[in-house]
Amino acid sequence: MNKTFTLKNVFVEGTASVVGPSEGAGPLGDLFDVILPDDIYGESSFEKAERKMLLESLSLCLKKYNYRPEDFDLILAGDLLNQLISANFAVRDLNIPFAGVFGACSTFNLSIGLGSLLVEAGYVDRVIAGACSHHQTAERTFRFPTELGVQRKATATWTMSGAGSVILSRQGLVKVKEITFGRVVDYGLKDTNNLGAVMAPAAFDTLKRHLQNLGKKPEDYDLIATGDLGSVGQIMLKHLLGDASLDAGNLTDCGLLVYASTQDKHAGASGCAASACVFSSYFYPLLCQGQLKNVLLLATGALFAQITAQQKDSIPAVAHAIAFEKVE
């Protein structure tokens, strides 16, 4: 219980990312592999566009690194929609065994964590871990129709459109070093328009356990990147870290890196794609180039459904921590 796994033999071999047009127009726009021309991506529904993004990011993992489907033992991926329809449908043409993973917006880290343990244990040689989200499909699943003239709260985050995938194997420049799976944390908050504040205690809990288990301090990482806490969630996490006398100097948030402040996305980007795309196209290259020595990715997820919110239940949250390190 409460274990942090320390791995010796698992590496990120490569990454691929696909994002929507407004994410492509943000500050990291030039770094993503594919930017969609529009939100619907030539499909007849946004759900189909979302799964096409995931399929494209998975296929890119094969194409960019010259692999064939039979070189992979397993795909671990997930999304935010009911019955994981994006992931389940995306992989049907790939001819690679698949296990669907759900951790809400922490899905990317959960996929990497599970995949890395399988590689470390020697059961598989090479797996792909991925996650995707789409603004319009998430709005429909969790909120209102997109064309409805509602005013978003300042605390609300903006589910981003995108998909990110990584190849995990026994070779590569970036090592998957430590994994701490999160405990489901519920501090009794109910506001689905303020998920940053809901998830901050989960991020804090996992981070604290991760550091305690390893006897480390936050300063031991070049960067501690939460998934999609957004501006409000980050303030709350800093409060919690401050109360525990932990330094928050190297803290960043994937969701806060995606959009420019002029894009009017309120508290920042959220969704599975936030950590998936920012890690794949921003942190991973920086680690490969040695500009970052190690990064602790702390993807966060709010584990609610519209039904639980309408029944006035509080929102449980989870965060999974994975430390990546540049191989010397």
Binding site: S44, S45, E47, R140, F144, P145, T146, E147, L148, G149, V150, Q151, R152, A154, T155, V185, D186, Y187, G188, L189, N194, A197, P201, S231, V232, I235, M236, H239, L240, S314
Partner: protein, 149 residues
């Protein structure tokens, strides 16, 4: 004790309330007034125009409402009304154009699930409750009025 009922959680909930970003009541009210007022002025222009061409007062009001519903629907279809709503808030939700928006937006959204179970069944998910409770309160107030006439 469950974590969500612990003193630590309660303290955190209070802290979250304290850290809510401050919304400017002044600019929100001003935006709602300008956009809501603008829609009403537009309606008045239509009504005055109709009266000028000889329609009766009652008929001009009805046609004005129909015209506003049309423009609300058109702007929703063009993807403009949600942008107006983002700024106007209640100013664009309360007028009849907002009612049109609340029906057309889900109709567009659920078109992909077909004309019957998608579009037609779902178009009232937001306006439906307004109609239901509107009818109930109209009945109640109608009864009260008939008693105290």
């Amino acid at each position: 004790m469950r974590e969500r009922e612990s003193p630590q959680s309660k303290r955190y909930v209070r802290l979250v309330e304290k850290e809510q970003p401050k919304v400017s009541l002044k600019s929100n009210l001003a935006n709602a007034f300008l956009i809501g007022g603008g829609i009403c002025v537009f309606g008045e222009i239509i009504r005055t125009y109709l009266l000028y061409y000889g329609l009766s007062n009652d008929l001009a009001s009805v046609w004005m409402s129909i015209a506003l519903v049309f423009f609300g629907s058109l702007l929703t279809g063009l993807g403009i009304y949600d942008e107006i709503g983002r700024i106007g808030g209640a100013g664009s939700a309360i007028p009849i154009t907002g009612f049109a928006n609340s029906i057309v937006a889900p109709a567009m959204e659920y078109r992909s699930e077909g004309a019957i179970l998608g579009l037609a069944a779902r178009m009232f998910i937001i306006a439906g409750p307004v109609v239901a409770y509107g009818l109930i309160s109209a009945t109640v107030f109608g009864l009260i009025r008939s008693v105290f006439r």
